[in-house]
Amino acid sequence: MLGRTASGVFWLFRYLERAENTARLLEAGLRMALTRESEAASREWRSVVTTLGLKSAYEAQGGDYTNIDVCDFVLRASSNSESVLSMFERARTNARGSRTSLTREVWEAVNEGWMNLCELLDERIEERDLGRVLAAIRRESTIARGATHGSMMRNQIYSFARMGTFIERADNTARILDVKYYVLLPSLSYIGSAVDTGQWDNVLRSLSGERAYRWLNAGQMSAKSIADFLVLDSRFPRSLAFCYGAIRENMSELAKFHGEEREAHALMREADMRLFGQDIDAIFDRGLHQFILDFLATNRRISDAIAVDYRFAA
């Protein structure tokens, strides 16, 4: 396949994943805001906006940290080039550009998803519609992923699609984990106290992992076990370990197809050893924040190497 098309497929799935994770994060923020007094709610929104990397853009246009202002900005504001609407638009543009590599089902899911969101996000959102809109975003992304599973050949196109999904998801999970611990909590001394139980719950909710976690941990909650779950539990589809398992698998498919390993494979192996060859105690000893910074940098290096190795650009 063409390098440009591989890039189109890769980024199509990155944007779909990013849009979905953004909706999950807003959902968690909304839930927090609705169960807290207003100052805590506004802190929560600030953390959501920070996690998304939109803090300066948001504050530049002078919005308050209220439910609807934040959601409207994140979802559709024309002053926000990283809005969910523009992510979907970019996903669709990438899908159009690589249409010959997609099945009709996948193309139609993306195209229809974009059309539906254009309609839903055409005007400023009312607070009472938020739940419906956020659910729709998650659903459109899920439908596209389902169409991919159900209709695409397991060839290199599929591998690029999956790598896009999991590189993006790993990045999102790591960011959420990082910000929640180090921006949101007033001070590290709170960790382990009863005060932040709600916060932990929210970390899990942002990643739709609260049920899985409860089920595994029978009602117990601690910083360490949550971090263990989100970083190292390879059964949870949004954990870093799961994402890297999926990337590893698809990269090895690519290596088989091309008959050789490339730079990205070497980086991947190195990352595996450095990041996942340790238990959660060791990670905490070194510092979770540092671990995540390393992880994000490595993740980006792998993504860049894939682009070079497979000739995404001329």
Binding site: L2, G3, R4, R96, G97, R104, E112, M115, Q156, R311
Partner: protein, 476 residues
Amino acid sequence: MSGEQQQFFDEMRDADGNVRPAYADYHSWLSEQEDGLMDRKHYEAESVFRRTGITFNVYGEDDAEERLIPFDMVPRIVSGAEWRKLSRGIDQRVRALNAFMHDLYHRQEIIRSGRLPERLFRQNAAWLPQMVGMTPPGGVYTHIVGVDLVRTGPDDFLVLEDNARTPSGVSYMLENRETMMAMFPELFSRVNVQPVADYPRRLAKSLAACAPEGAGSTPRIAVLTPGIYNSAYYEHAFLADQMGAELVEGSDLRVIGGKVQMRTTQGYEPIDVLYRRVDDDYLDPLTFNTDSVLGVPGIFDVYRAGNITIANAPGTGVADDKAIYSFMPEIVEFYTGEKPLLANVETYRCADPDSRKYVLENLADLVVKEVHGSGGYGMLVGPASTKEKIEEFRAKIKANPDNYIAQPTLSLSTCPIHTKSGLAPRHVDLRPFVLVSPNGVDITPGGLTRVALEEGSLVVNSSQGGGTKDSWVLAD
């Protein structure tokens, strides 16, 4: 009233209001349908088009970047006998076009013989001096041709225009049929319609047959598109997809080792046949427009060396010129030695003083077209125009007579369309798609029927608000 109704040939009914034989089965089916079915199906079809992304882009309109071509659900039906006759005429015309192109870029016998004035192509913007003396692989210039036909009477099909450069619309021919079959499956078990769905396979086969020597037994075909913002991008993607070919952009291609190669995830791989949907001017910045980023630097050298087939060949646009068109009867006779089976629309060349005088005196009754214009742009439809517009064209013609031709306003046939208040007649044309290879001329039974949606309008171009219909050729 009845006299007025027969002012134009009605495809579905004769002068007495009887349904013509070709429409008999369709009409009996239609009369059995409940009220409201067509409205419902129309809505359904539009949402399919939108979901599928069957759109075209309109330039210069920010808000409506991608648009649906309006689709009408009453088919345009051509009988088997009519089609056979048309096919023979098209076959003859396309063979002549191809021979003409070869002659123009080689010995120019037709000019030496005095049948065609030399200045006609000297001043033709589509004429490429770079093509002189060069023969494309397989000797084929016009790999894909769209011949625009209009009908004015039972036996009167006329050629309105030849599209030998890069005819578009074939994806609508295919999607319109798919849509009709999805909407009205029972109709197709009642009426025996010849299929069009194998067009992409025929296209791939025809292109492969034109591959350069040394391409191997399975030549590699790619479709070159200007990209997703081009008005016909949907069609480019569709054809590549259906042929199993790569859809490439200029930035994917490079000349390496005397071959045009595309950048794949595995490295550069050679292409044998390039079905380009990019104009000549943008094909090679080293040879033509130096600013272009749509093309491939050096591709023309590869072409000259015989290492790639470009379809259609550069320089074939000469044949789309409306002044050349006016000579088509002579061209057909010159190269085939036969009388043309398909007539031209009577055409006045404004370059010719007598014709010019006539045109200027009769502007209000004529259609005036720019010689190099396309897509319904830059034309005057006299009877439907204003005094100001007519004077504007009078001045233009006087200032640059070579640039204009004029034709009588044709009594284009009408075909019913579905409207909110039932069936209503609208003017139509028909563009069959023709493939040329060393193995011969291959015409898919059907084509694209374009329909002027506005009552009384003669302009069927999609860029001017026209719509399309499924076109049936019966298998009788």
